[in-house]
């Protein structure tokens, strides 16, 4: 594939459904397929900053969607009553009976919902939307009302993530067929795109009549997804729907090879996690493509990525290629491989999991957990500025008294609901201060192996504590000549144990680097609205300076400087001196950090736990059962 931007985007327009096109033309094809079947395809993740390219793409999508099909934009911050629906207070008051107002998802039934800043979407909201995509309806159990409202939607998640720790929640990524990256497309290189909404309308009508896909196509999509390490079974299903939409758009009633190729390129390629291993062509070329092999993924011999087969093969008119031609599977594999983003290909070749691609498997939307506090019911109260009126509860409080009040004051009219001051109910929020413990563990040679094991034990115990209290934890380890953030702040701690267990010890003590990294991590957590606590476990004897050079005196100065920096930021810290015979270094560092100093000549897990628990407000009270 040609590098982005240097291709010829003008070649697109009419031949947009043809293969071998640029990311831009591919994205146009995706938009046209979405216009045909927004609900089946789930939608798209659109990675691009705000700007003309993104606007143009959205315009193209909107113009292809027939008139009357909803095209709604969700506000950046949305509450459940607008998202899912709830009581329409105005109408309820007016009519004197409960009236439901549908949320955005229900209002977009049959059409498309645009989600701006999807990388900031809270996991809970993403899960609600994902649930609606799955079910095709909204289940409203809110404000005293229970309704099922049809909501078959496609979602365009606008992804503006700039750093790798922001990402669209995986719950959405998995369900949206297309993952389009327009961030590198230059607006000037784009030609006009012809809008053919007539074709969309015709294709929509034809969609239901497209015949079931052949076994060869089903098998080839599944095998291709598997070869590229795509774990989800949803991906081939989305690819199949994309192929069907493509067939319908091309005016056909059967899904053909070219549709499958297109679908594989658009749906499967951006999801690729590994490259199929190359091996001899003979073993797979002659296989009967209609019967997928009964082998587990681990054992399946991957067919070779047949070079050169991509653009030509799909132009063959026959459905059944001659026996010596590459199988559909091979063609799809090649098509996907050819469509992999340039950088991704290299990183996959190196055997590394893709870090830069928009497909990341870790870390859902937890970073943007709403810190507004959790709603904790309502309370009586008067309306002051800043107080949030719980409308429905207020109304409900007023409701039983209406007949009485009407009798008291007949002149107010019969159609009104009379609300009095004593009815006011206010929303109550509990501002839960979330906290993060940043563990910074010395795994150097001076911390002898036995003592490292003890430190590990202490950290494990604390992680368990953090797990119960739903505190976030991060793990930094320093040894050799650098510090490493082993476990980024997370609440999902299942990986931590194996990370710890496999943690090797030995080498120098880059203490300054360790403290620096801890400071950075803690400040990052503070920026997210959490209360960080740094727990440093070391003997305080740094011998590697910040620049990685082994120089004891400079290392000591650097460490002291790093400790002061940490202290200057006002970060809460605990210094656990693991030295068998504590000397001054430890206490000095602790002073510089303004940290609580604990000397534990025998690192005893329980004791460390007690110290940290005492220093962490979130850990003092594990959640209580009951209410």
């Amino acid at each position: 594939m040609a590098p982005i931007g240097a291709s010829d985007p003008g070649a697109a327009s009419n031949a947009a459904l043809g293969p071998g096109s640029s990311p831009w033309t591919d994205s146009i094809v995706a938009a046209r397929l979405l216009a045909v079947d927004p609900v089946g395809l789930g939608g798209a993740v659109l990675t691009a900053g705000p700007g003309p390219v993104r606007d143009l793409w959205l315009d193209i999508l909107r113009l292809h969607i027939p008139e009357g099909v909803p095209f709604r934009r969700m506000p950046a911050s949305i509450e459940d009553d607008r998202l899912l629906g709830g009581v329409d207070l105005v109408a309820t008051l007016k009519l004197g009976q409960p009236v439901i107002q549908s949320g955005i998802l229900a209002q977009a039934d049959g059409g498309v919902v645009i989600i701006p800043m999807a990388e900031r979407l809270a996991a809970g909201i993403a899960a609600r939307i994902a649930g609606v995509i799955d079910r095709g309806e909204v289940l409203i159990e809110r404000d005293g009302l229970a309704r099922r409202v049809q909501a078959r939607i496609g979602v365009i998640a606008l992804n503006e993530a700039v750093s790798s720790d922001e990402m669209v929640p995986t719950a959405l990524l998995d369900r949206l067929a297309f993952h389009l990256d327009l961030s590198l497309i230059r607006p000037l290189g784009i030609d006009e795109t012809e809008i053919d909404d007539v074709a969309t309308t015709a294709a929509r009508a034809r969609l239901a009549t497209v015949a079931p896909a052949s076994d060869a196509i089903l098998g080839a999509l599944v095998v291709t997804a598997a070869k590229f390490g795509i774990p989800s079974v949803v991906a081939p299903l989305l690819a199949l729907r994309a192929a069907r939409a493509a067939a319908a758009l091309a005016g056909r009633d059967t899904i053909q090879e070219e549709d499958a190729i297109l679908a594989a390129r658009l749906v499967l390629a951006p999801r690729a996690l590994i490259l199929p291993e190359a091996e001899s062509a003979e073993s797979t070329a002659n296989e009967d493509q209609s019967t997928p092999r009964d082998e587990t993924l681990d054992e399946a011999p991957p067919p070779p990525p047949t070079e050169g087969a991509t653009p030509e093969a799909d132009q063959e008119p026959e459905d059944e290629p001659p026996p010596d031609a590459p199988s559909l599977e091979d063609i799809l594999l090649a098509a996907v491989e050819a469509a992999l983003p340039d950088g991704l290909l290299e990183s996959l070749r190196d055997g590394k999991q893709s870090r830069g691609s928009i497909i990341r498997r870790q870390g859902s939307g937890q970073a943007q957990a709403a810190l507004r506090g959790r709603p904790a019911g309502v309370r009586l109260g008067s309306l002051r500025p800043g107080a949030r009126l719980a409308l429905v509860d207020t109304l409900r409080a007023a409701a039983p008294w209406q007949p009485v009040r009407r009798r008291e004051t007949p002149e107010t009219g019969l159609q009104r609901v009379e609300v009095r001051r004593e009815d006011f109910r206010l929303k109550k929020f509990v501002q839960r201060r979330e906290s993060t413990i940043v563990f910074c563990v010395d795994a150097s040679g001076s911390t002898a192996f036995q003592r490292l094991a003890e430190a590990k034990g202490a950290v494990e115990l604390l992680l368990a504590e953090a797990y119960v209290a739903r505190t976030y934890a991060a793990l930094i380890v320093f040894r050799g000549n650098e510090a490493e953030l082993l476990l980024p702040p997370t609440r999902s701690l299942s990986r931590a144990k194996s990370l710890l267990a496999n943690l090797p010890g030995g080498g120098g003590t880059p203490l300054a680097s360790g403290i620096d990294l801890a400071t950075m991590t803690a400040l990052g957590e503070r920026a997210r609205g959490r209360e960080p606590l740094v727990v440093l476990l070391t003997d305080g004897r740094g011998n590697i300076a910040r620049d990685g050079v082994a120089a004891r005196s400079r290392a000591g100065d650097d460490a002291l400087d790093a400790a002061r920096q940490l202290g200057l930021h006002g970060l809460a810290a605990v210094f656990v001196d693991t030295s068998p015979r504590p000397r001054n270094e430890g206490a000095d560092l602790a002073t510089a950090m303004s940290a609580r100093y604990v000397s534990l000549p025998y690192v005893e897990a329980g004791a460390v736990r007690d110290v940290v628990v005492a220093a962490t407000p979130g850990l003092e009270r594990a959640p209580q059962r009951g209410r």
Binding site: A127, E141, R142, V234, R293, D298, E460, A464, P623
Partner: protein, 342 residues
């Protein structure tokens, strides 16, 4: 009526399907928690459960699903029928499988003042919530790990006591709420509170099937269902009925299944070998093994039944570091091999 993907058409996922059949056979086992990736049929299976369950008798018109066989004061203090009628009419209804969606508000979960009645007639009435609807049935929560904390607290409370007490807006209502919790979730998207996990009798991990033929079959069936759900359901109806009959037969048989002292000893040994916490583990293991025997048509609980259910009954009860998730399967396998032989 939206068409539901039939239970019998779910490809693979034998552990998950068995766990659901076990609790459908003996609801005393407790709930089922299903962990797993997306697209593994978690919510499909839970929602398909409803069609498999035999009907149950309730007092006709009772909004609290009250059991005619239970004493009259077992129903809600608000139940008008029971307070007037000592020998009420009964009716057969399908066992409820109630969906608790994310975003549900507390008043709908526990029940609250009937807004409509208050607004239109100026009367104070109680509108039962999801907990009342799920009484004697199942309460299904998808993405249970994302449920808001205050709702989780509430569920824990009711799940423990079997009774829902509402004190709000001058109403004072108490009604039985005994339901089987079925939860599903993806641990990558947030951990489940240990207190909640503990409420589930069984816990299963589902994974994406690794066999390519299975994957192709999933794709084929999903596609066929989407294209024509009615036809697809009609095609699978006989197979679904078989499963339904199997559950009904197992329920009948359950009371007469023999659990020998040897089997009980084996279960205790297993729990000790695994370091499973408390008596709950043993009790769940016993009930699950018995239900497994009932489902397979055997009269006596044997080693095979125990072996089959040991993992799902004990996996989440191992006394261990809560971080150690990967190791639990291996530990169970080891303990089973040790106690029951390979």
């Amino acid at each position: 009526m939206t068409q539901v993907f039939p239970f019998a058409a779910i490809v693979g996922q034998e552990d998950m399907k068995l766990a659901l059949l076990l609790v459908a056979t003996d609801r005393k086992i407790g709930g089922v928690m299903v962990f797993g990736d997306r697209g593994t049929g978690k919510s499909t299976a839970a929602r398909a459960l409803a069609s498999l369950l035999p009907p149950m008798e309730i007092v006709k018109g009772c909004r609290f699903n009250c059991d005619p066989k239970a004493s009259a004061d077992a129903c809600a203090n608000m139940c008008e029928i029971r307070s007037h009628d000592t020998r009420p009419l009964t009716e057969a209804v399908s066992i409820p499988v109630v969906d608790l969606p994310l975003g549900a508000t507390e008043d709908r979960v526990v029940g609250a003042l009937d807004l409509e009645r208050a607004l239109t007639r100026g009367e104070k009435g109680f509108e039962p919530g999801l907990l009342a609807r799920a009484h004697r049935g199942f309460l299904y929560i998808d993405e249970v790990n994302l449920l808001e904390d205050h709702l989780v607290d509430l569920l824990l409370d009711v799940a423990t006591s079997g009774e829902n007490i509402v004190e709000r807006e001058g109403l004072s209502v108490r009604h039985p709420a005994k339901f089987v919790l079925v939860g599903s979730g993806n641990p990558e998207e947030g951990e489940l509170r240990p207190q909640l996990l503990d409420r589930f009798g069984l816990s299963v991990d589902v994974r994406t099937p690794s066999k390519l033929t299975d994957r192709v079959e999933i794709l084929r069936r999903c596609d066929a269902f989407e294209r024509n759900p009615k036809e697809f359901n009609a095609y699978w109806l006989p197979r679904n009925q078989e499963v339904s009959d199997q559950i009904a037969a197992a329920r009948e048989r359950l009371g007469s299944i023999d659990v020998t002292d040897d089997s009980l000893e084996t279960m205790s040994k297993l729990c000790i070998a695994m370091g499973a916490d408390g008596l709950r583990g043993e009790l769940t293991l016993m009930r699950a093994s018995r239900a497994a025997a009932a489902l397979s048509g055997d009269a006596v609980v044997g080693a095979d039944h125990i072996r089959r259910v040991a993992g799902m009954a004990l996996r989440h009860r191992l006394r261990r570091n809560p971080l150690d998730q990967s190791g639990s399967d291996a530990r169970i396998e080891r303990a089973v091999a040790e106690v029951l032989g390979a």
